[in-house]
């Protein structure tokens, strides 16, 4: 399954011009600054905005082509707005049932109970929306969108209106969504952290155009893109819990190219965890240092070196199939004589666990 979309839209002072194919699974992040056209693109996908001569097909089913334009209420989609947009005159249960009662019985693949359970809102059903906290409202809005068993879930910065604590409250639910449902998600965000945490695919937008798109691991390490530069640059690695070390209270997380040791995690073996390694936390050595306090040392191959600041370079590495970034000084790079193809050891000073 895949999503094909072509839209051209002229507003005064803003043009949207996109042509993209999105994977029909996992979370695709539309990422860019405000004003880059992310939300407009999402609204075109939903049919809330009509781009003349646009084209949109979902798994071969055409939603827009020439004069054909399937109106929003005939599209099998779920939409989560920036503000929760719950109907104020209906309680939570009736908000959830609003969409669900309007689809055919045969089209119900997500039960109301499972949506309620997934978002943890069972205790809120009889409340009116004005009696909910911001985080609760967002969860109800997500459950309400899921309850229509959509073929695609569109989310417009669902966390933007929330403070950091509320974000932390919602993110685990979004991760469950990702892990437990087969529904592809298109997720608009301008937060690198959210994207690193949730996305499988990333579409980078600027000025109404698509700058680049691809799997998140590649996008974060493409040195020609701004994402691989700056203080927040880094990679995400999907791992599973491989072993617990009770003596030293550590956990080994395995991935294709090796393993990473972190402080003891409360999860069972085989549990999926995504971790983020910032480029600034990776240093390089030509030999494996055994006399170092750093536990995580990954053999890697230098792929590419790019200038970052007058003092720094960014090195793109391949650690057994997994891309890695290291931000080191230009002097270190010269002293080590780094060039593409060289075998090195990447020393990972710290790891951010995203789940």
């Amino acid at each position: 399954m895949s999503i094909e979309a072509r839209f051209k839209l002229d507003f005064s002072g803003f043009n949207l011009d996109v042509d993209l194919t999105l994977p029909g699974r996992g979370i695709t992040a539309l990422f860019g600054h405000s004003g880059s056209g992310k939300t407009t693109l999402l609204r075109c996908l939903a049919g809330l905005e009509r781009a003349p001569d646009g084209y949109l097909a979902l798994d071969g089913k055409v939603w827009q082509q020439g004069s054909l334009f399937v109106p929003t209420h005939h599209r099998s989609l779920g939409y989560v707005f920036q503000e929760a947009s719950l109907f104020p005159h209906l309680n939570v249960r009736r908000n959830l049932e609003y969409g669900m009662s309007r689809i055919a019985d045969g089209a119900r693949r997500v039960s109301l109970d499972s949506a309620i359970e997934l978002l943890g809102i069972g205790h809120l059903l009889e409340r009116m929306p004005d009696r909910l906290s911001g985080g609760e409202r967002s969860r109800v809005a997500i459950a309400r969108a899921l309850a229509v068993s959509p073929r695609i879930l569109l989310m417009d910065e669902p966390l933007a209106a929330l403070d950091l604590a509320r974000k932390q409250e919602i993110l685990p639910y979004l991760e469950r969504l990702h892990d437990e449902l087969e529904i592809p998600v298109v997720y608009v965000s301008h937060s690198p952290d959210e994207v690193a945490r949730l996305a499988d695919t990333m579409v980078l937008m600027e000025g109404g155009k698509i700058v680049a798109s691809g799997p998140i691991h590649e996008m974060l390490t493409r040195l020609d893109l701004p994402l691989a530069h700056g203080d927040e640059a880094g990679v995400v690695i999907d791992t599973i819990v491989g072993e617990h070390d009770e003596t030293y209270h550590l956990t080994r997380l395995d991935f294709a190219g090796g393993s990473i040791i972190v402080a003891r995690q409360p999860h069972a073996l085989e549990h999926r965890m995504r971790l983020r390694i910032h480029a600034r936390d990776v240093s390089l050595a030509l030999e494996r240092h055994v006399d170092s306090s750093i536990l995580n040392i990954l053999p890697a191959k230098v792929l590419e070196i790019a200038d970052e600041t007058p003092a720094h370079v960014v090195v793109r590495l391949n650690a057994g199939g997994v891309p890695l970034l290291a931000r080191i000084t230009r002097k270190s790079s010269a002293l080590l004589g780094l060039k593409p193809g060289m075998a090195v050891f990447a020393q990972v000073k710290s790891v951010a666990l995203l789940e």
Binding site: L48, T72, L77, G78, Y79, E83, H89, Y98, D130
Partner: protein, 225 residues
């Protein structure tokens, strides 16, 4: 109260009731369109709808009389169809009152629909609700305070009509003689006691109606905060 006063009360309530119903049916879609239309024509339409607010009732009444009378466009068409023209008739009063009270129905409704906001309507669309469905299950319930205000104001305003009624309806007992005209007649004839009863009654009824509306609106408001 004399029998003719009771008849005047009956005509008044009938006229106000029918006018309010007609305006509810016609004014609601009009207000919805005014609230959501981005066309330039909407500005013109809005001004036309608001005209009765600033126009002297006798001006409106005069044009209505001409239009609905036997020589007018509407009246002569009806006559040609074998029907009666509308000058000095109850249906004629309903037509004139509908125009006269139009802004009292559309303004509160338009404001209420504006307050519902596009996002709620879009949210309903993403939840599979078609246009009519969205209107009746989201816009109308959310705009219920506006409906309450609009219905009350329209009814009360029609009860208080004088100039338009006098021009279009004349003063025919049991047909077009309404309370406001009865009061005028009583005062003219120096029957102040009878005028007091009707005037006082109208004052009290109008006040009570507004108190009820504001109290209800206040209650909705506290529920919503």
């Amino acid at each position: 109260m004399s029998e003719s006063d009771w008849l005047a009360l009956k005509v008044t309530l009938e006229l106000s009731g029918v006018t309010t119903l007609v305006l509810l049916v016609l004014g609601t879609p009009l207000a919805w369109w005014l609230a959501r239309s981005r066309s330039r024509f909407a500005v013109v339409a809005e001004s036309i709808v608001a005209l009765p607010l600033v126009l002297p009732p006798t001006v409106l009444g005069f044009y209505m009389l001409v239009l609905l009378g036997p020589k007018g466009l509407v009246g002569s068409t009806l006559e040609a169809m074998g029907l009666h023209h509308l000058a000095f008739t109850f249906p004629g009063l309903v037509v004139a009152s509908t125009l006269y009270s139009l802004p009292f129905m559309t303004q509160p409704l338009k404001d209420a629909f504006n307050a519902v906001g596009n996002r709620m309507i879009e949210a309903a669309a993403t939840l599979r609700a078609g246009p009519w469905d969205r209107f009746f299950t989201v816009a109308v319930p959310m705009a219920r305070r506006g409906f309450l205000t609009a219905i009350t104001l329209t009814f009360a305003h029609t009860v208080g009509e004088f100039g338009v009624v006098l021009m279009v309806g004349g003063n025919i007992p049991d047909q077009t003689r309404v309370l406001s005209i009865a009061i005028y007649d009583h005062a003219e004839a120096m029957e102040y006691a009878s005028a007091h009863i009707l005037a006082g009654g109208l004052l009290a009824a109008s006040f009570l109606m507004l108190v009820t509306v504001y109290a209800l609106n206040r209650r909705y408001m506290t529920v919503h905060l």
